[in-house]
């Protein structure tokens, strides 16, 4: 090859070909890049529901803290891995589930569990005396106090330690402290927990009907 233009031009065409098919085509496809929420015929509401304001700010906290370095937000189809058996979601997550997400945090490593449907998950039985928010606040404040052996970082900087005045804050974490102080979630902690709570897959989408646990069981029975 004697002509630099041939090299540069060829390199340009090769990359453009890949970009135009994998990205440009997908981004403008009516059944993928231009998906929108759809109306649920049962109750007339649109799914997936838009994320509420506080939860939307929680998404920013999630991104800021780099949660994606350990947590995925994608449920694999029943039968591929054990996502459904672990209770991470009853169906595969599909593209439409993410249309409202400002920054899609699919993630590519599971040092911690998948969080795509963490908002649906119930508090573990031994902690069932705690409500959902309190459990997750305590867990963020000190993961190892609830899950011994966990390698998750703790986030005490999302909580304020302050002197108890009068009866104390109703929002204080249910921790037994005997030094006259209490631990209260900051705005960021509240937003983050609201965001986690908003992560759900408990609505039906027509394109995901064959990707549910039930569909998988029926398929197994037929076989």
């Amino acid at each position: 090859m004697k002509n630099g233009l041939v090299i540069v031009g060829g390199a340009f065409l090769a990359l453009t070909f890949s970009w135009s098919v994998l990205i440009f085509f997908n981004a403008n496809h009516s059944l993928y890049g231009r998906l929108a929420p759809i109306e649920d015929e049962m109750n007339g509401e649109f799914v997936p529901a838009p994320t509420a304001g506080l939860a939307e700010r929680g998404r920013e906290v999630y991104v800021q803290m780099g949660c994606v370095a350990c947590h995925t937000q994608q449920v694999r189809r029943p039968g591929f891995g054990a996502d459904a058996d672990r209770g991470w979601g009853d169906r595969q997550s599909v593209a439409r589930d993410y249309v409202g997400h400002a920054k899609v945090q699919l993630g590519d490593v599971r040092i911690g569990p998948d969080l795509r449907a963490v908002g649906e998950r119930e508090v573990p039985e031994e902690w069932s005396h705690l409500d959902w928010d309190a459990y997750h606040h305590l867990h963020l404040y000190n993961p190892r106090s609830l899950v011994p052996g966990s390698v998750m970082p703790s986030f005490p900087f999302l909580y304020e330690r302050r002197r108890i005045v009068g009866e104390g804050s109703p929002r204080a974490l249910p921790l037994e402290m005997d030094d006259g102080y209490e631990i209260v979630p900051s705005r960021r902690a509240d937003a983050l927990v609201a965001y986690l709570r908003s992560l759900r897959l408990d609505y039906a989408l027509p394109e995901a009907e064959h990707l549910t646990v039930e569909a998988r069981q029926q398929q197994n029975e037929q076989e």
Binding site: W19, I23, A27, G66, R110, S150
Partner: protein, 492 residues
Amino acid sequence: MTTVHSNVPSRRSSPYSTGGIAEAEIDQSTRVPVMFFVGTALLWLLISTLLGLITSLKVHWPQFLDGIEWLTYGRVRGAFMTAFLYGWASSAAFAVGLWLMARLSQNRLIFGPLLLLAGTFWNIGVIAGVGGVLLGESTGFLALEMPAFAGPLLLVAYAFVGAWCVFTFYGRQYQTTYAAQWYLLAAFFWFPWVFSIAQVMLVFAPVRGTVQSVVNAWYAANFFLLWLTPIALAAIYYFLPKILGRPIRYYYLAVIGFWCFAVIAPWAGVARLTSGPVPAWVSSAGIVAMTMMLVPVAIIAINFFSSFGAVAGTRKTTTLAFIRVAAVVFVALFLVGALLAYRTFQEVIQFTHVNTAMWMLGVYAFFSMAVFGTLYFLLPRLFMRGWASPTLTAIHFWCSLVGVLLIVLSLAVGGWIQGVQINNPEVAFVDGVRATLPWLVGATLGWIILLIAHVAFVWNVVALVVSRAVSAESQAILQANPPAMKVRGQTT
């Protein structure tokens, strides 16, 4: 003094040794910018090694530096990626790319000192990127964690480096080009293209839903496949014949290898989206491309390995040792990568430490080793003096090799265990984590060994730069370019 790095026919018949510019003169013309990029790259190498060690420690020892906002795992990991990919790898790629391009084009690098401006901007961009991630401004996208304001800065700085590279190429002495030049030219063209696409489609005008994930996977893979890989391949194509003193065998295949690489590689990155909330054909295309990559890889492997063979003692240089490791890892990486892309394996390893193991194999055991090899050749010629300490050189070589192998093997085994445990719903998640811990400790040991390697290397470089005396021994090393090679009985 002869220049021996090519076996292109026209070069053999050209009056090469008399008509060209002396190599020493070319080297000196690149001295200022290359020194700057090497210096800053080494600083970033040390910083990213520390950040890498911290991330590795935190995965199995969560109490380590726990509860400090800017040192929380997610942020340190993002800062590590930014410092390593943009601080170390890209700066090193600039240094290697500029110097190689000048040498291969037999052309002086003109107005080299102007590139200090580009280098300064680049480093401001990387500092802003790493600092921004630590302060919580991460974009949350893999390999593009740097906050929005850092991206344009990097792109402008890059534009200078890329332009200089192209100018140097266009002023080349001989029309005929060599394989290393194709890869360099393509890499310097691909990088700004994929980088700006990712910046626009993820940060400035984000695409919708999981199309972001496709763009991100495409970018993260192409950063390695279309930017770091071609630079390292160019270095190997340059040094193997030069040091061994014999031409690349089956060189006529190289052009086929290059075009196969250019056409297939841009598709290979999306394989990792298997079973994700994206169209299934996207990951299928990626898997097919990963397998098809074996064609260019096989051709390049034929070029490289058939040149290996027995080596005379005088040619056994440090550069050759590093370059050989890089060449072997390159082939191993794509063989294993093609296999692991299949869904049978993805079901187990898709979200595990195996990904990190493969990443380290690519950016460190392949790319960084090729860069180290280049620097061992390049720095004595820039400074006109020899390496201060063969002991430090040996420490660097063996520690970087052992360190990275320890990391890769530990994470591969630990990651496999992690995948098997996660796929077994009978095992509590935290017990699965516990089973991987010993292997993660192994990876941390590897990082400590890498730290030793890098401290030894930087020490060696500093000693080379500050030493005033030029020993007779090092003078001899300097003067001796590798002995001229014989091409079909004719000495060039």
